[in-house]
């Protein structure tokens, strides 16, 4: 009964802490994520579902470590790298981050463009409008309001649940496929699994969770709530990835139709699951693209202000955090130029962004490992052996993945 008595304050604290974990993990399923998951499911069907549990574990462990570092030290990953490795390394890492993130921004702009096209909206009109709205909103609104808006947007991911139901899948088989791997594991299958992992666990996600937790000003006595929130976020994201893959498998894979992108998937499932399912899938893509377009440039802008000591917080006005906000919008505008020019194909961009991320991520995990095990920084909150084992495991898998990916590309 005593537990019941403290339930209300606990719930209250949880709601105060709510945000970073859920928003970051859902943003991992951005437009690029939706595309990768859709293509993977259209090629391998339920066989791809086996990857979800390991992905959830990797995401959960890396995000938790990042957030814990931010809560304990009050610093973002950029701050820490600068303070421990100096200017030269900082410049290098920021340059890479900027480059990799720019690829991801292009993916999201591309996703938005495709989604708009699938609804027959004019890209030339709506895309700039979305960007203007985004900029005004991000610069004007406080942290709390931006966060609420993202949490609201995330509700739209439920669209995937409904499109999965409308696709009338064999739920028994879905459940079984989660745990039992496919009978024949081909090189292509491994390769695609890696792409799926690479789209979910990202370098920018690691930077973003740190900065965002820091900007929320969470303190150490809320650490457990924060951890719980991150676990829930990672879990939920992958539940929705499951629905996404189920919707595609039950319609396209089972009918032998392959696709090359997410908007394709939205259109292609129409004959099998109906108009509504198609509409929902498209809506999901639109929201995913929007969230990605907001979060990824924010991650770069946060990192820049940490690395180079300029003011950067969602709580600050445009005047006080000018560099932060200008950098945010410049990336998007630069991306817009690329996306609207007709000579660039999106497919190549998606691939390049995924590879770069795959190569970059192990470096970030290395820093994560160093900081999370630094007793001076973390005190009693250093990694335990299980966390270290899982982190190293994730690093090895991702590095291996990146190498195999590069190899596959050469061969």
């Amino acid at each position: 009964m005593k537990w019941l008595g403290t339930l209300k304050p606990r719930l209250l604290i949880f709601l105060m802490v709510l945000g970073p974990g859920i928003i970051t993990s859902f943003a991992d399923n951005d437009a690029g994520g939706v595309a990768t998951y859709s293509v993977a499911a259209s090629q391998f069907g339920y066989g791809m579902l086996t990857t979800l549990i390991p992905i959830t574990i990797v995401l959960l462990i890396t995000q938790e470590i990042g957030a814990r570092i931010a809560v304990v030290t009050g610093k973002g990953l950029g701050d820490l790298i600068r303070e421990h490795y100096g200017i030269r390394i900082s410049l290098l890492i920021f340059g890479l981050l900027f480059f990799v993130n720019f690829g991801v921004i292009l993916q999201n702009l591309g996703g938005l463009k495709e989604a708009l096209q699938s609804f027959n909206f004019s890209v030339g009109t709506f895309l700039p409008l979305i960007i203007i709205f985004l900029f005004v909103f991000i610069t004007r609104a406080s942290y709390a309001k931006v966060e609420k808006f993202f949490l609201f947007l995330i509700l739209f991911y439920v669209a995937y649940l409904f499109s999965a139901i409308l696709a009338k899948p064999d739920w028994g088989l879905v459940l079984k496929s989660l745990f039992v791997p496919a009978r024949t594991v081909t090189f292509d299958y491994v390769y695609t699994s890696i792409a799926v992992l690479g789209t979910t666990v990202t370098a920018w996600g690691q930077f973003f969770i740190n900065s965002y937790v820091k900007d929320k000003k969470l303190t150490i006595d809320r650490l457990h709530y924060n951890q719980a929130e991150i676990y829930i976020g990672s879990l939920l994201t992958n539940v929705f990835s499951l629905f996404m893959m189920v919707a595609v498998t039950a319609t396209l894979f089972n009918n032998g139709i392959t696709i090359t992108g997410a908007a394709d998937a939205a259109l292609a499932i129409k004959p099998f699951a109906g108009e509504l399912a198609s509409l929902l899938f498209g809506t999901g893509l639109l929201v995913a693209g929007f969230i990605g377009l907001a979060i990824v440039p924010l991650a770069t802008a946060y990192a820049f202000s940490e690395f180079f000591g300029v003011s950067g917080s969602l709580n600050e006005t445009f005047g006080k955090s000018r560099t932060f906000y200008v950098l945010f919008i410049m990336q998007i505008l630069l991306g817009l130029v690329f996306i609207l020019s007709p000579n660039i194909t999106l497919f190549n961009i998606t691939l390049y962004a995924d590879y770069l991320n795959g190569i970059f991520l192990p470096i970030i995990l290395f820093f994560l490992y160093r900081f999370a095990n630094n007793k001076e920084l973390m005190g009693e909150h250093v990694n335990n052996q299980l966390q270290n084992a899982l982190l190293i495991g994730a690093g090895v898998i991702i590095t291996g993945a990146a190498l195999i990916g590069a190899l596959g590309n050469i061969l």
Partner: protein
């Protein structure tokens, strides 16, 4: 003058030409006065050694030291340039903002080397890459000043230094000179442990103001870390409505143990507000109001205003109560000063008081303030007793945050 970036990694040789390793770091005295460089840290085959600056013969292309110099140890009040200052965030006291140290400038006079200041500009970054000259054409092109962006040592405050064993005497003054909002802003970027130690080193009054400006999460975490005695001390000094906010997520037990140590009057106010904090404007009620009786004179009221101007931050109005402590009128400061000191308040008070109760919505409060052009409105209980005031800035702040 030269820079640490030009020095780090330089070869160290002895007078007889033996290689001693490379320069890894410098040590300086961070007490009062100019920060004098006292030692060098030399790295050789990944071994770290420290030598006294007295043994340095010259510093140019190489650093030349005496033959077989004595090894020395770190002393009190000494800090490392690379480890404790470079790349760290510091407060620019004059500019009142937080910046990152890109490079450290070192000056030498006849007898000493000392830290002249820190470079926080773009040049500092480019210097590390050996590309500083590349900047010149750009600066010329845009016609902007191309001097390094240097902050003198006197106007910076590296807060993380306080984590070490260094106790700076001048630190206190510098810290107290920084605007509390800025200091709070900085503290939010360090660990709660550091916040704790800084708050401890401040005067009680500054501490309370800084705590008042901290983010609510930090306030709560901090108060939980402090001993109930110290927590009570701080709560005593922050405004009552803030104190209530800070305590809102504490367990009943914690609240009681802290409240037991707070002065009776403050406790009464806090408890009252805690009770009211569930209502819509409850949290905004500020309990310190100036009250007077209707047969008091203007003169005594003015005296009262003068005496309480600090405590009752909103001394714009004096509220008049009858013997049953019921609110019967209000006088604004302007009217007070326009009348003869001997006039009884009852004669000049405005008997038609615009009031609100704890259940009035914030929107209604704002509307009333705007309609009647009032900076603060008195809150009354159902028995017509005055509970406190709600001020314009508190309500607008609250509403702004919801936008």
């Amino acid at each position: 003058m030269f820079y640490f970036s030009q020095l780090q990694g330089k070869k160290i040789v002895s007078e007889k030409g033996n290689s001693m390793g490379v320069l890894h770091d410098l040590i300086f005295l961070a007490a009062e006065g100019a920060p004098v460089v006292t030692k060098l840290v030399v790295k050789r085959f990944s071994k770290i050694r420290m030598y006294s600056i007295q043994d340095v013969v010259s510093m140019s292309h190489f650093v030349v030291v005496k033959h077989e110099p004595q090894r020395v140890e770190l002393a009190d009040n000494e800090l490392f340039v690379d480890q404790n200052l470079l790349n760290k965030q510091i407060i620019d006291v004059l500019g009142s903002k937080i910046v990152r140290v890109n490079d450290v400038a070192i000056q030498n006079n006849a007898s000493n080397y000392y830290i002249a200041g820190v470079d926080i500009g773009l040049r500092g970054i480019f210097r590390w890459l050996g590309m500083e000259p590349l900047l010149n054409p750009f600066y010329m092109f845009f016609g902007v000043a191309h001097k390094p962006h240097l902050l003198p040592w006197e106007s910076i405050q590296p807060l993380e230094l306080s984590q070490g064993q260094v106790k700076l005497k001048s630190k206190q003054d510098k810290l107290n000179a920084i605007r509390p909002e800025e200091l709070a802003d900085y503290l939010e970027r360090t660990t709660i442990k550091n916040v704790h130690s800084i708050i401890d080193s401040l005067s009680k009054k500054t501490a309370a103001r800084v705590v008042g400006d901290l983010h609510i999460n930090y306030q709560q975490a901090l108060l939980r870390r402090l001993s109930p005695e110290r927590a009570a001390e701080i709560l005593e000094l922050v405004q009552t409505d803030e104190a209530v906010d800070i305590m809102s997520t504490m367990s009943r037990q914690q609240k009681e143990s802290i409240l037991a140590l707070v002065s009776a009057q403050k406790r009464k106010h806090i408890e009252e507000l805690l009770r009211l904090s569930h209502t819509s404007i409850g949290k905004l009620i500020y309990p310190h109001v100036l009250t007077a009786s209707y047969d008091d004179t203007v003169g005594t009221a003015i005296e009262k205003v003068k005496k309480n101007v600090v405590e009752a931050a909103f001394a714009h109005y004096v509220y008049i109560c009858n013997e049953h402590e019921e609110l019967i009128g209000v006088i604004n400061l302007y009217d007070l000063f326009m009348h003869e000191p001997r006039t009884p308040l009852g004669e000049i008070m405005e008997p038609d008081v615009v009031v609100i109760n704890p259940k009035t919505s914030k929107e209604m409060v704002i509307q009333k303030m705007l309609r009647y052009k009032m900076y603060a409105l008195p809150v009354i209980s159902e028995h017509h007793k005055i509970l406190g005031v709600v001020t314009f800035d508190d309500v607008t702040k609250e509403i702004l945050e919801k936008l």
